[in-house]
Symmetry: C2
Subunit: 411 residues, 2 copies
């Protein structure tokens, strides 16, 4: 098995070399061929998915994971539509980022190139298989997926049809491969395949991401959980604060950019706290704190809790510096917002909160690749290296320096 595994990765590398050299137009045709193939095989995809779902129900897979696992005809159609949208996005490959000529006439340019081989590890989300494969083809990268045992039948069908679709337009089939047949051991080997895998993208639960980040020896993009805050400053427009907080918490609770804790400046706590409690409790949110009247107690994880539900922390803090300290201590460096009118306070918050996205007078729900105009959902990076915040196609590329001389030698 050891050799089969490395052989698969070598095939991915060879496919990556061809794919990376293929013109943009051909790669776009590959994505469109995948969209067509998905549409043509909706029945087979749904049937394979039913197998996975039945096995999931039989083995007691959690309800929310069953929902994520499920691909009905409408969701499959959505995958084809998303692939077609992706084929319309600008291709970042070949973009010249910097360019200059040295005094002695050496021409130096930095251009965007594919990474090469990208690995993706996720769980029970067969839609990611198509998403990430199309994003990788769009950026000239070969993709190796580990989609998890729960979605194995669905993923097998999806990978097979994508390989045939790529081949039909003259692109290497092995641009898309899966290591699912290697089971759990395969995930571990992928994480340590230095020289074979150029970048690893985990998507899924906090525990999965933690495992990938700590065990990997290949570079990883950490797409993270969101313990997201809104701080209501003493200088805030309270009506605005009410609307922003309500939207950040209740617009959609199961997502990483939903608010988990509202921080309120002590200077206005007497009016702001009852007002915020009224609107949030009125919307059905269970409020939790360390002693604020009319709230439940905090869970064992305290302020470092990602509820992903109609529950929220509320804390009274001594002004903007205490809010910044709370956020940097308990947050996950994802998205944090201030509602305030005092320009000095706003600028202090935006500068000192150490998060991928910092906001002023806006709901945290806006941290989203779609809102940012990236068109494709690669994930939201909570690390500071390579990519930070919502990731678009350029974030799945590397760069290369191209130096052109006329026989230049160094004196």
């Amino acid at each position: 098995m050891a050799d089969d595994f490395l052989e698969l990765l070598v095939e991915s590398r060879e496919a990556a070399t061809e794919l990376g050299a293929a013109p943009s137009e051909l790669r776009k045709r590959g994505i469109l061929a995948i969209a067509d193939a998905i549409e043509a095989q909706i029945d087979e995809i749904v049937a394979a998915n039913c197998e996975d779902l039945e096995r999931g129900r039989a083995t007691g897979l959690a309800e929310n994971l069953q929902d994520r696992l499920k691909l009905d005809a409408a969701r499959v159609q959505g995958l084809a539509d998303a692939a077609r949208d992706l084929a319309q996005l600008p291709d970042p490959i070949g973009d010249v980022l910097r360019e200059f000529t040295t005094d002695d006439g050496l021409r130096i340019a930095q251009v965007r190139v594919p990474f090469g081989v990208i690995g993706a590890i996720y769980e029970a989300r067969p839609n990611v298989t198509v998403d990430i494969a199309c994003i990788c083809i769009g950026t000239g990268n070969a993709i190796v997926t580990r989609g998890g045992s729960a979605a194995e039948s669905t993923n097998r069908v999806l990978v097979g049809l994508m390989q045939r679709a790529l081949e039909s337009v003259g692109l290497p089939a092995k641009s898309v491969q899966t290591i699912d047949p290697f089971g759990r051991e395969g995930a571990g080997r992928l994480m340590t395949a230095r020289g074979y895998v150029d970048l690893l993208v985990p998507r899924g639960s906090a525990s999965l991401i933690e495992r990938v980040v700590t065990e990997s020896t290949v570079p990883v993009i950490e797409t993270g959980s969101g313990i997201v805050h809104v701080y209501v400053d003493g200088s805030a427009d309270l009506e605005m604060a009410r609307e922003v907080v309500l939207n950040a918490k209740t617009h959609r609770t199961s997502v990483c950019n939903a608010m988990e804790t509202v921080l309120v400046d002590r200077a206005i706590a007497e009016t702001a706290v009852p007002m915020l409690l009224a609107v949030l409790v009125g919307a059905g949110v269970t409020m939790r704190s360390d002693g604020v009247e009319g709230t439940e107690s905090l869970p064992d994880t305290g302020w470092a809790t990602e509820y992903l539900a109609m529950e929220s922390g509320i804390r009274i803090v001594d002004g903007v510096d205490a809010a910044i300290d709370h956020i940097n201590a308990f947050g996950t460096h994802h998205t944090d917002s201030i509602v305030a009118e005092d320009a000095g306070v706003v600028s202090r918050f935006l500068q000192r909160v150490d998060s991928a996205v910092v906001m002023h007078n806006a709901s945290t729900r806006f941290t989203d690749g779609g809102v940012f105009g990236f068109g494709a959902e690669v994930g939201i990076s909570t690390q500071k290296s390579h990519a930070r915040g919502p990731m678009g196609l350029p974030e799945l590329t590397s760069t290369k320096w191209i130096v052109r001389g006329d026989g230049h030698v160094r004196a």
Copy 2:
């Protein structure tokens, strides 16, 4: 000790917050104060360095490491001069990389920000202590160094004087700290200090870098060894090839951008090989191959050898594709050059060789932050994530998205 170690990193984080918020002008003044302090304390630095050198000689430190370890008065002056040069470079912090307004009026900007806390692990090179500290102050980052036991006395003096210099201009002393007192265990803890260290930069031997890359759970920039090639194509101007190859191999042999293997197109081998052997052997280079007449045999590491000496491999290959395959298989993705006149061959080589820097008709010795105009030596990245090739100040920064609304909520 556990608590002392984490406490030190927390102090670095606090210093990073202040330093990151300090205006560019103040950070430049900090660097200049360091340059002044180094000049004023040349004698103390040299005396501490003598202690390290004596201990090194007594414990059998290798000659080349003794040379790297050594700081005489001229070298110390060089450190002060380099710091002053660095203070003149443009400050990347605050640069706006992308900026747009959404249809409903949300203003979104991506700006350069410091990483926060950067760790550096290196060996017996006290000049790196000053270099990396000044680069970090220039980019608003706090630095935690592990400079190794061989240079401990020198580094203690350097860190102390840098801390006092920063304090004298009103910047936090703890912007520069060392974990040398924690010994070898400290290096391991630094590599796994997730949340405390934002980026780790190893500099030194291949084995040191390998250890940092494989053991770290914090993001790492791999600055690498260079198994660097020049390919002489059948279409090459042979006189140009001779000069480029000679320069790439012999201009300076101990550096990562020096050539280790010359590949020769079989189509011209009959004339080119004797010509290249004559010039290289004539310059004192021991030539090694798998059977080319007039050469010695390859070492046990075969083509994957970084000689860093007046030795070189030479191999006859079947054209550009075989050269590309050789380079991608045995190289370290650092720098590779083609000498050729055929435009199609050149473009195939530049596209398919998977290295940080690819060159046409130029000596590999040009891969250098100075040549690229970056001014400061951060190292040459051989990984594809975050930074690739020579690194300047911008490569030691992260980004942050700043979103400004007027009470915007998501519909």
